[in-house]
């Protein structure tokens, strides 16, 4: 069978190499934008490839599909093994959709970097390939290696292109990530010890490892769980290990922020679902109360601090801390509503945050300042920009009819049925979201037009072209999320089965027969 996932991983990396080797545009020649065009071409081809995988995915079939397994390092039990279930596939699709959007939106953002424009787009493609690999990895060792490898392109994207303090931001990001990586490494090594002493010898293959760790002794399981969990919590990021994100968002180009927050940070929450829950069911249940408290804290803390921000990208970063709180909450309430909601949330947050970062990026680029106070009355001069900003903002505050509503509501339903106290606190997040979005809209877009934005151009065709697919998806999936929920549902079912929990039952089950009658 054709190795579809390997192809999806290698195609963008091949693209990265090609783009890197293209002749650098030199100052006196007319701009050809060749690196951009080639990069966009590769990312679109990758999207096509991933679309084929998505169409070929059999909803009623095996849990993991498009699997490829080759032994890599026999003495460690490491494999080159790829495969996707509905959860992994959802994130692969997200990655494939966002990369071309980001390339199109960042067309000129690589011009003034530390390195040439080629490297900017090459790193982006490299990141796409590695991210697809992370979401498709079926082997813990391979996952770890790819997890760490994604740091390389994003580190150069942050440190090479962006604001004045980008070096500080890049190093801060790297240190946080390396710390998390080290903790995970300890657990990865621990897993080796556990599996090596089992009957079949050492293995990192997820499908072989899960039965072994399911019967692991309690204390070991909890320690190993912690190594993974903390690494993922830093990645996500959750309160109180979130402080690297605002700095990075403030200094990066908008495109880099999208790749980081919309895609790479999802590795954290994806990892919790796949590895924490999949490998350590007992420890996951043990940790649930603490994790839920931290998640609710992230929701409220992120929302509150966002309200007080003066810089737009920092504000978006804090809203993401709040949103990641919801995602983690949904994962650890350990029921299908919460986890389907969380997986969907990862996808929807990817879209809405991308739209927010990109449209505000266009805004900031035009004004040369990212401070909210430097804007005012933009709607009057750039109505399309203001309108897209509003729609992106409304999706971020989970307006019903836009896709993030469904995921947030499902997470809250899951939380409510798990323990309604958490839901009562977390639901306050919807008021905070209304405040941080609409206050920003009011301050930047409404009122009298300030002098400095008087001549501002509205969005051009390229910028609209980059945002349109995002907004279209947000609306369509808001009314018809079935294409995603259909593939996520069985995958979550398998995960819950592994943890050994089932959904809570209603107290007074209502008959649904009457409904069925109508439906036929």
């Amino acid at each position: 069978m054709f190795p579809w996932l390997t192809a999806a991983l290698l195609l963008p990396i091949l693209g990265a190499v090609v783009v890197a080797l293209l002749p650098s545009p030199s100052g006196d020649q007319p701009r050809t934008d060749l690196p951009q065009k080639v990069a966009l071409g590769f990312s679109l081809l990758t999207l096509l490839l991933v679309a084929v995988i998505g169409v070929g995915f059999d909803v009623g079939g095996e849990r993991y599909q498009f699997t490829e397994t080759y032994t890599w390092i026999e003495s460690f039990g490491a494999h080159y093994a790829l495969g996707v279930d509905g959860i992994g596939l959802t994130l692969v699709i997200l990655t494939a959709i966002l990369t071309p959007v980001v390339i199109l939106a960042s067309w000129r953002d690589g011009d003034n970097g530390r390195w040439g424009v080629n490297s900017f787009f090459a790193w982006m493609l490299a990141l796409e390939g590695l991210a697809i690999g992370v979401f498709a990895a079926m082997d813990v060792f391979l996952f770890y290696v790819l997890f760490e490898a994604t740091l390389i392109p994003i580190y150069f994207l942050i440190g090479g292109f962006g604001g004045a303090r980008r070096s500080y931001a890049a190093v801060k990001f790297l240190l946080f990530s390396l710390l998390g990586g080290l903790l995970m490494l300890a657990s990865v090594v621990g897993l080796y010890v556990v599996s090596a002493s089992s009957e079949g010898g050492p293995t990192y293959l997820l499908t072989e490892l899960a039965p072994i760790t399911a019967s692991i002794d309690t204390v070991t399981g909890r320690w190993l769980f912690l190594g993974f969990f903390i690494a993922f919590a830093i990645k996500a990021p959750m309160f109180p290990v979130h402080t690297w994100l605002p700095d990075v968002a403030q200094e990066s180009t908008p495109g880099t922020s999208v790749l980081l927050v919309s895609i790479l940070d999802k590795i954290g929450t994806f990892g919790m679902l796949r590895f924490c829950l999949g490998l350590f069911p007992e420890a996951s249940q043990w940790a649930t109360p603490v994790v839920l408290v931290l998640a609710v804290a992230s929701v409220l803390y992120g929302g509150l601090v966002a309200i007080g921000q003066k810089s737009i990208p920092r504000l978006i970063a804090y809203t993401s801390v709040s949103h990641f709180g919801f995602i983690v909450m949904g994962i650890f309430v350990l029921n299908s509503y919460g986890q389907i909601g969380s997986t969907l949330y990862m996808f929807n947050h990817g879209l809405s945050t991308a739209a927010l970062f990109l449209v505000t990026g266009f805004l900031i680029n035009r004004r040369g300042s990212q401070l909210i106070g430097d804007f005012g009355g933009v709607e009057k001069v750039a109505p399309v920009l203001a309108g897209t900003f509003l729609v992106a903002g409304l999706s971020s505050l989970s307006l019903p009819g836009l896709s993030p509503f469904i995921s947030e509501f499902l997470v809250l339903v899951g939380t409510f049925t798990h323990n309604w106290w958490y839901a009562v606190f977390a639901v306050l997040g919807i008021v905070l979201a209304a405040l941080y979005i609409l206050l920003t809209y009011q301050r930047t877009m409404t009122g009298p037009t300030v002098e400095a934005v008087r001549g501002m151009r509205d969005l051009n065709l390229r910028e609209v072209g980059a945002l349109a697919p995002l907004l279209l998806l947000i609306v369509v999936l808001g009314f018809f999320p079935k294409p995603l929920t259909a593939i996520i549902d069985p995958a979550v079912g398998h995960t819950l089965e592994q943890v050994g929990v089932s959904d809570p039952q209603p107290d007074v089950p209502a008959p649904t027969a009457a409904e069925e009658e109508i439906n036929q």
């Binding site: 740091l151 109180p240 509503y337 019903p400 919807i430 549902d489 809570p504 209603p506 209502a510």
Partner: protein, 654 residues
């Protein structure tokens, strides 16, 4: 409930002396197959206008906007008569469109429920909506963004129709926030004015507080019954614990308080008058703000099982009907006086809805008549503003009855209707509520009665200050009657204000609603109904007289006098609702956020940075790392990789 009427409704479940109806849907055939089109038309209109962009749609947006709503009205009308022709037991029509959310055992459909309750709402929304759309063609004629205005109006109508047609709570939530969005966009339509932008945001945020109730309520419905659809819940509602029903009732009441501007979430409505006047008429008087009443009445199968929540609804309604009326007395801004009145009238509806099956039908009856006469008066106010160069201060009006005769006459019909002049629509609908509330409690009844007197006072004040007395016009103002496109809707609404009471003829409206909301034998009243009517009429007459004595006989000062009683000052300040919010929520909230931001920058970040660097022993490296990129990165990666290999080898070797 007598046995003969019980046999008419075989599916009514007897509970505690009254009947809680069970919704039994029959498939949508015939004309009902077009139910979805009622929502789709204005939604399509909004999409074409808003996505097409202002310049491209300028030429036809207003026509398209009116056509879609008129089309929906036509289908609503045909459907209404089709429903009328059906057996009373077959008047709940269900139409399944598609499965919206399907996750585990959570399922919510895009499915519509067309029953006597939603049928009346459809007529109100599309009927009054059409008139207001037509009126807006004239009112917004000189606004360069008129196309967008019609796009927003269509969006509103679509969302409002979704709200009243959905067969489940999640779909209601969709419409609920959809109308909130439209309201936000339209309050802030003139967003270059900071006051409009702030008012829009305030409306949305306060409504979001109410939405907490909507969201948690929907979750609790699902957690309890395993579904969010009305029909199955209505079947088993009686088996749920009372505590659950009370919680549900209170949560949905919170939601209703937000949307319907009931105390304590009332503060946004007066500011919402920043929006263009047709918006105030359609959204902030006739339709959207009554959604809270709809929610309570629709959830009758919840409220009927919880006296605590019902009492809470009555209390909220009673407090608000007085609160709004008192505010209405002190406002010089004609739109704000009318807005206070709207709060107050919705208070009446809430009060009625809190009375249970006894009051549901009266709540809806008053909701309909109020939709007619308040839309009439808001559009009339718009017409006056049109004549007065957009001035809203009634102290600058006076003696307008000759200058704008059609507006004056139609406004007068609305006036007579709202104060409850015998024979006019408001007389019938308000009278019923006051009568019913005396059946509930003498105190509540007295409050409702006093409210009627205050209503008569403030509305007479508005009438006198606007149309009678001396001219107090600003210089250069030359009042003129509005064009036909604006006066014809006024005339139609005036006619409805006069004749709306016919809905009660032969108990039509109460009988019509019985299959949807249940019915109950009337409470024993201390007096015969006509005695109540007489008492109410006398109280109204007293209110009118006081207004005449204080406002009509004296010269109205062009600026508001400052040495006034504490009550007037309080009423001018909206009974300090905003001041309270400011002191209790906004300022402490601001301080808290500022503190938290400081804490995040210095505290969390400092500690994490500090421990991070100390832990890794890299405080020196930290600085060095910033200088040599590739080298330092390579070093980190390399040391990481070495660590992996070394660790694995070490473990492997032992």
């Amino acid at each position: 409930m007598t046995s003969s009427s019980a046999s008419l409704f075989p599916r009514l479940a007897e509970e505690g002396g009254h009947a809680v109806p069970v919704i039994h849907q029959v498939p949508a055939d015939g004309v009902f197959a077009l139910l979805w089109v009622i929502i789709a038309l204005p939604a399509l209109g909004a999409a074409i206008i808003l996505l097409g962009g202002g310049n491209r749609t300028k030429g036809f947006a207003h026509l398209l906007g009116c056509a879609t709503v008129l089309g929906s009205f036509a289908i609503s009308l045909v459907s209404f008569f089709a429903l009328l022709g059906r057996d009373e037991t077959d008047r709940s029509v269900g139409q399944f469109l598609w499965t919206w959310v399907d996750a585990g055992s959570f399922r919510a459909d895009m499915a519509l429920l067309y029953d006597p309750l939603s049928a009346l709402f459809l007529l109100l929304i599309t009927g009054v909506g059409s008139l207001i759309h037509l009126y807006s063609i004239g009112y917004m004629e000189h606004d360069e963004r008129r196309a967008r205005f019609f796009g927003y109006l269509n969006l509103f109508v679509a969302a409002m129709l979704m709200l009243v047609l959905s067969d489940n709570y999640l779909g209601v939530f969709l419409g609920w926030e959809g109308v909130g969005l439209a309201s936000y966009l339209l309050i802030g339509f003139w967003q270059h004015k900071p006051s409009a932008a702030v008012a829009a945001k305030k409306a949305f945020v306060v409504n979001r507080v109410g939405d907490i109730g909507m969201a948690l309520g929907t979750m609790l419905v699902f957690a309890t019954f395993g579904t969010v659809a009305f029909a199955p819940v209505s079947e088993v509602a009686g088996e749920a614990p009372t505590a659950t029903m009370t919680a549900l009732g209170l949560l949905f009441l919170l939601a209703a308080c937000g949307k319907s501007a009931q105390v304590p979430l009332q503060s946004w409505l007066l500011d919402a008058m920043e929006g263009p006047t047709p918006v105030s008429a359609l959204i902030h008087a006739a339709t959207m703000v009554t959604a809270g009443v709809y929610l309570v009445v629709r959830s009758n199968f919840i409220y009927d099982y919880t006296e605590v929540a019902q009492t809470a609804v009555v209390v909220v309604g009673t407090v608000t009907l007085l609160w709004g009326a008192i505010i209405g007395c002190a406002k010089d801004d004609i739109k704000k006086a009318l807005a206070g009145s709207t709060m107050s009238q919705i208070g009446y509806m809430m009060l009625a809805a809190g009375l249970g099956p006894y009051g549901y039908a009266f709540a809806i009856f008053h909701l309909l008549t109020h939709g007619f006469f308040k839309a009439n008066m808001f559009l009339g106010a718009g017409s006056v503003m049109h004549a007065m160069n957009d001035d809203v201060d009634m102290r600058h009006y006076g003696a307008l009855q000759k200058a704008v005769p059609v507006t004056f006459l139609t406004f007068a019909m609305g006036y007579l209707a709202i104060i409850g002049f015998p024979g006019f629509s408001g007389f019938w609908s308000k009278d019923k509520i006051i009568e019913a509330s005396f059946g509930e409690s003498t105190l509540v009844g007295l409050c409702a009665l006093v409210g009627a007197g205050i209503t008569a006072f403030y509305m007479t004040r508005v009438m006198l200050m606007t149309f009678f007395g001396q001219k107090r016009w600003e210089e250069g103002v030359h009042p003129h009657e509005s064009p036909k496109i604006m006066t014809v809707p006024l005339i139609v609404l005036a006619a409805l204000s006069v004749l709306g009471g016919l809905l009660l003829f032969g108990d039509f409206v109460t009988d019509w609603l019985t299959p949807a909301v249940g019915a109950v034998a009337h409470h024993e009243l201390a007096f015969a109904p006509w005695v109540f009517s007489l008492i109410v009429t006398v109280v109204v007459a007293v209110g009118v007289t006081i207004a005449w004595l204080t406002v009509g006989r004296n010269e109205v000062p062009r600026t508001a006098p400052q040495n006034v009683s504490f009550v007037t000052r309080a009423a001018r300040a909206d009974l300090y609702g905003d001041a309270l919010n400011e002191e209790l929520l906004m300022r402490p909230g601001d301080r808290f956020v500022t503190g938290l931001v400081g804490f995040d920058d210095k505290g969390v970040d400092g500690v994490v940075n500090g421990t991070g660097t100390a832990f890794a022993g890299m405080s020196g490296t930290f600085r060095k790392l910033q200088t040599g990129y590739v080298r330092s990165y390579a070093l980190s990666v390399l040391s990481g990789a070495v660590l992996v290999v070394v660790a694995l080898l070490a473990v492997n070797l032992t």
